[in-house]
């Protein structure tokens, strides 16, 4: 009997791709489509730093060649944005004015950089490093830049600051405890980082916000809360990530910080699943909701969501705590971010 199933995955990151592969592996009949608003094919996000510094070329970023999708008969819709989901009719409304029907849907939309509301009025001055398109934007700006400011902080930003400093840039780091990602920075970790940075001649402001940022020609003037003034050529913002769920709101799929799912990664609407950085899951151990962080975990969630979509009932659990190396300091963290 021919099947008319159409499984759609929104999002072309590790969660979306592993979900697509699992679906195809277990079901060679159904249509499988990935829709992504990014124009560039599935890439290694962590290599973006190397990409903008010129160490890695564009092709090295690609996780797999286009032919792989052709062989697996996975339809790829790049550069297409889903504007609205209508679960009653199982229809997606795309920004370029196309309606697409699904029989089952996996949301793997990932997350976007967050800017704290008090700084949101300066957002237009900030550069980000979370997507390939960000990197493309930043790349030509970076080489002529001499002075760089970094706001917030996460593991990538520390690595990035080190890299910039090695590129002989003058780096100023505004280190915010609250915004550190994916965990809160303890005081001793913060001071260790400060110490480490001063060794690399990176100026650090700890928990001091800019109170004014203005563009002056191609540069930016920053006035800090404690009255210091500095001029920089480019400002990077690393204040953690927020799940990409805006377009889901109002559809009847429940969201809070992320898309609310149960331990099977099912949303409140039947036939719709969520996984990866956009999913918000309750965990009894933590007595809290959590959101996945990181590449591998997204992949595991993608697989789980796909298997459950196909009728299994696998339970997702936060993995064991893991030790991360932050600038020489051993830090215990898990792969989740408490909300």
């Amino acid at each position: 009997m021919p099947k008319f199933d159409h499984y759609i995955i929104i999002g072309n990151g590790p969660a979306g791709n592993s979900a697509a592969e699992v679906l195809r592996m277990h079901d060679d009949q159904a249509r499988v489509s990935i829709i992504s608003d990014e124009g560039f094919p599935y890439y290694y996000r962590h290599m973006l730093c190397e990409f903008i510094s010129g160490k890695k070329k564009e092709d090295a970023l690609k996780v797999k060649p286009a032919s792989d999708y052709k062989e697996k008969n996975i339809r790829m819709r790049l550069g297409q944005r889903v504007e609205r989901i209508e679960p009653e009719t199982k229809t997606l409304y795309l920004k370029h004015m196309e309606k697409v029907k699904f029989t089952r849907l996996i949301l793997a939309t990932g997350a976007s950089p967050h800017v704290v509301p008090s700084l949101s009025r300066f957002e237009k001055h900030f550069s980000f490093m979370s997507k390939y398109s960000d990197a493309l934007k930043v790349k030509p700006l970076l080489s002529p830049a001499r002075k760089v400011a970094i706001l917030g902080g996460d593991l990538v930003s520390l690595k990035f600051a080190k890299m910039l400093s090695a590129m002989k840039k003058e780096v100023t780091f505004f280190l915010y405890k609250d915004c550190f990602y994916p965990f809160e920075l303890t005081a001793d970790m913060a001071s260790a980082i400060e110490k480490h940075f001063s060794g690399k001649k990176i100026k650090t402001f700890a928990d001091i916000f800019p109170s004014r940022i203005e563009s002056k020609g191609k540069a930016f003037e920053i006035e800090t809360e404690n009255g210091e003034n500095l001029t920089v050529d480019i400002i990077f913002c690393f204040m953690g990530m927020r799940p990409n769920i805006n377009f889901i709101q109002g559809s009847g799929i429940d969201t809070e910080r992320g898309v609310l799912v149960d331990e099977h990664l099912k949303t409140n609407v039947s036939d719709i699943y969520a996984c990866g950085d956009c999913a918000q899951i309750y965990n009894p151990e933590l007595k809290n909701y959590w959101i996945s962080v990181g590449w591998e975990n997204a992949g595991i969630q993608g697989e789980t969501a796909a298997l459950n979509l196909l009728g299994e009932s696998k339970v997702i659990k936060p993995s064991q705590k893991k030790i991360l190396d932050v600038e020489g300091l051993k830090v215990n963290t898990s792969w989740w971010k408490e909300l």
């Binding site: 124009g39 560039f40 094919p41 060649p65 286009a66 032919s67 999708y69 052709k70 996975i74 339809r75 790829m76 819709r77 790049l78 550069g79 297409q80 409304y93 795309l94 920004k95 370029h96 004015m97 196309e98 309606k99 697409v100 029907k101 398109s133 493309l136 934007k137």
Partner: protein, 592 residues
Amino acid sequence: MADIDIVIEICGSAGEGTISAGEILSRHMSSLGFEIMSFDSYPSEIRGFGKCVAHSRISNQQILSPGKYTDILVVLNDSHSIPQLHAVRENGVVIYDSQPPAYHEEDKSIAGWMAPGMIAYGIPLHSLANKAAGSARGRNMVALGAMAALFGIDEEGFKTSIMKRYATKKQVVIDSNVNSFEEGYVWAKKNVQKLDHLTFSKVKLRKVTQNRIIINGNQAVAQAALDSGIKLFAGYPITPATKIMEIMGKELPKRGGIMLQTEDELSAIGNVIGAGFAGKRAMTATSGPGFTLMTEMTGLAVMAEVPAVVVNSQRGGPSTGLPTKTEQSDLSLVLAGGSGDSPRIVLAPSTVEECYESTCLAFYLAEKYQTLAVLLLDFFLSNSIRNIDEPSLPDKKMLSANISPSKTDLKDYRRFQLTESGISPRALPGTPLGMFVATGLEHNERGKPAYDSKTHLEMTEKRYRKLDGILKEVSPPTWDGPKANVDIGVISWGSTAASAHEAVLKARKVGVNAAFMSSMLLVPLNVDHFVKFSAACKTILVPELNYSGQFAAHLAQYLNRPIEKLNRITGLPMPSEDIFEKIMEIADTQKR
């Protein structure tokens, strides 16, 4: 400094400005110093549901064929463009409307059909056009603007090209086009992140030494006719030859000539024959269906020995067929159409340059040999726009070719005198003592109807003898490649010949021992050269745009050997890529 050789296709619905966008693009790129070859395909409905494709190959190196694979597809109409996607390269670029007025149902949007490697840029063509000019008409210009921004084409120069194109229109039309372009440019610059690597901005261009003109086959024919001293053009509108008439309507009166738009092709060729009889150069232009009508009268020109130049720009299929598609299937009609044995001149140019050259030749030969000359173009060649070096004008000898009777001749004037050359001195009306009667009936040397077997044989032989002279007037066929021990010899004609030539050059580059031959003059055919060429080649391949292999069949009677054929009737010009593949396939077989 890089090289570039890319194909851009703009695909839309008829009436959406698809063709004009393509034209502006080609003209602008040519003005920058690029080589271009572009052509359009469009339906016979003016508006409505027909599909239009403006296809341009743009390169900084020589181009002989239009290019089979698309590097950039610009989508003005999704449903028409979906079938065009198969020609887009694996990592090609697709530009489409991201803001049409209503939702596409699933699979009606091009966005759903793109292959995984393709790069898609969604531009809100509809709303930007609306914003720029208050209507969606300017979507084509928005698309051009976006292309300029994406592929590094100078904005200001492009705007000038647009203004030039609409120079004769009202200011509001010019403005809305330029504004739409601007809107697309600015939007794309601001909002589109470039993921491809195609750019015109860093390309090394050849130095332009000679005056270059942008011209299509129809224009070249019209220009050559004007340069050859045409005095009357009579015509009836028919795709794809209409443009020749329109140019004549504009240009001919300026030179003291007349463009006569007749009520039908019967009348058109009648007027041409009338003018020819009176000693003036005249021409008509038509396509297959019109030529079929004219065969009522082509025989009259041959029989009455009146010069007449007829252009047949071929379209597809029998009957009304495929009015807006290209094909080379009128060959048999033109070689033999009409009643009785009627020798005529048939010239088939293969490039826009040759369109000019062959038209000049047609006027010269028709006048000198007092017969019908048919120029065989095709839809593609008629509409294929090229930038070419300005052609050299026909010389004095060619401009005045009539062999007039001498005083001695006039003493006892025999208009249809049997001569060695087959040419009988022709008196023009107004010439004292030269009066005669021309007729479509078989006649004797004086023009009197005569149906006896001797006269009919003598006169038929006389008319055929003209062909020997004609053959000597025209340079022999092109033979490119080794003169002996050739593995694969490719023979072609008309527009396909250019593609074939390109394919042979490419094959030789990869080490295949191939040679190429083509002849602009199809009747009379330089059989000797073809026989020699054939003898030098292990395999002969004849690619052409018809189903039955009309030229291959025509050649076979002289070559007396098996001929490999490559036939296409897709309605599109012959891709050199297909010929190349065929050559490689044959080369493979030969090795085994």
